[in-house]
Subunit: 193 residues, 2 copies
DNA sequence: GAAAAATTGAACGTGATGTTCACTCCACCA
DNA sequence: TGGTGGAGTGAACATCACGTTCAATTTTTC
């Protein structure tokens, strides 16, 4: 594994840990453990904890933005769209956004205010995506007339949970099944009889 | 406010904080802040951090067990039952059980192994409750033939999230709306056409 | 097999955190 | 009014956890 790939793995592990505990409470040893290496070794790749954090966030942010952008292009129906959103690639960052900022919503956890603006922006984009899918479904007469705002919020919460389960603690297989099942039921509930 | 009530408030605040960060990463100052008092004052009520943790967990565990017991008596249909489960009283403990043990599932966070057994037990009881509701609905021909295990898991996850949002960061009103809306859709999806 | 690169683990210093305590504040009563 | 006890404060302290460094060791490369 070359230096590039190793850095990527470090950033991803870093994001997982920062997402779990927040910057302040995350220990660089946690990150080393996550990678199966020692603290000392980590310091050959990053300057210090802060540096690791900055780089990791930038790394994840790019991936996540690209994914949202791609998703928006091909809105179809809520379930497919939503599952696609869940399945696709590198959404590590959403864990920060979601677990902390959305669910628990504690701005002190992520200290960089300019970054927080971008988190908020991405969150909003994702929510907008869901809302527009729901609205369109209703307008086209396929969905029942549900409360778009609240349902979008619930769906986004479910999405967040999927991300947490899948990426924060990698329980891939059964989690996938569980959400497919669940979303199938939701879709049935949405569709007009 | 007498000493009894104050102790109760301390335990509840303690649980919130322990649930957020885990025993090790929770600071007693966090708990003091949560209560709007100083660390020093806290020590008039509890012996030390460990003592606070023990007492708080016991306190919450009793409430939660009582609630599950009550719920099991009057199973009706999944939505009503589920919402009741969500609305009712003191379920603080479930945040520990759920956010940490269920979602992130990190046994190291709560160090008392005997306690963990009881957590697991309560978790299982809650899941059983949901599964039995679903199974019954299907057997009686009211529900579509969904995958009971996976759907129960998703519902439980949603429940966990409700608890987190409501109790860990008290966003009562809109959270309530969001889950009622969401669960209504789920119920519609469950019911046979 | 030597040179270079990667990795380790122990050591260090500092800042954070659990705990204590002398002191203040205040309600209550004589 | 002045004394008493309980509630609460915030500064001080001691310990230790954590970020960081580095000499020593292992692994890789040629």
């Amino acid at each position: 594994m070359n230096r590039e790939e190793k850095l990527t793995r470090i950033y991803e592990a870093g994001l997982r840990v920062f997402a779990r505990y927040g910057y302040r409470r995350a220990r660089v040893e946690d990150i080393a453990d996550e990678l199966g290496m020692t603290k000392g070794n980590l310091y050959l790749y990053v300057k210090d904890k802060r540096d690791l954090y900055e780089k990791a966030v930038s790394h994840g942010l790019l991936q996540w933005q690209a994914m949202v952008a791609r998703s928006i292009e091909k809105i179809d129906d809520v379930c497919e769209q939503f599952l696609a959103l869940c399945r696709k690639g590198y959404t590590y960052l959403s864990r920060d956004v979601s677990l902390r900022s959305v669910l628990i919503n504690d701005p002190s956890i992520f200290p960089l205010s300019s970054r927080e603006d971008r988190f908020a922006e991405i969150n909003r984009a994702s929510m907008d995506l869901l809302r527009s899918v729901l609205t369109r479904g209703i307008r086209e007469g396929r969905f029942r007339e549900v409360d778009v705002d609240h349902l979008a919020e619930l769906l986004y919460s479910i999405y967040v949970m999927f991300i947490i389960k899948t990426y924060v603690k990698s329980e891939g297989k059964s989690t996938q099944k569980m959400f497919e099942q669940g979303l199938d039921v939701v879709l049935q509930g949405l569709l007009k009889k």
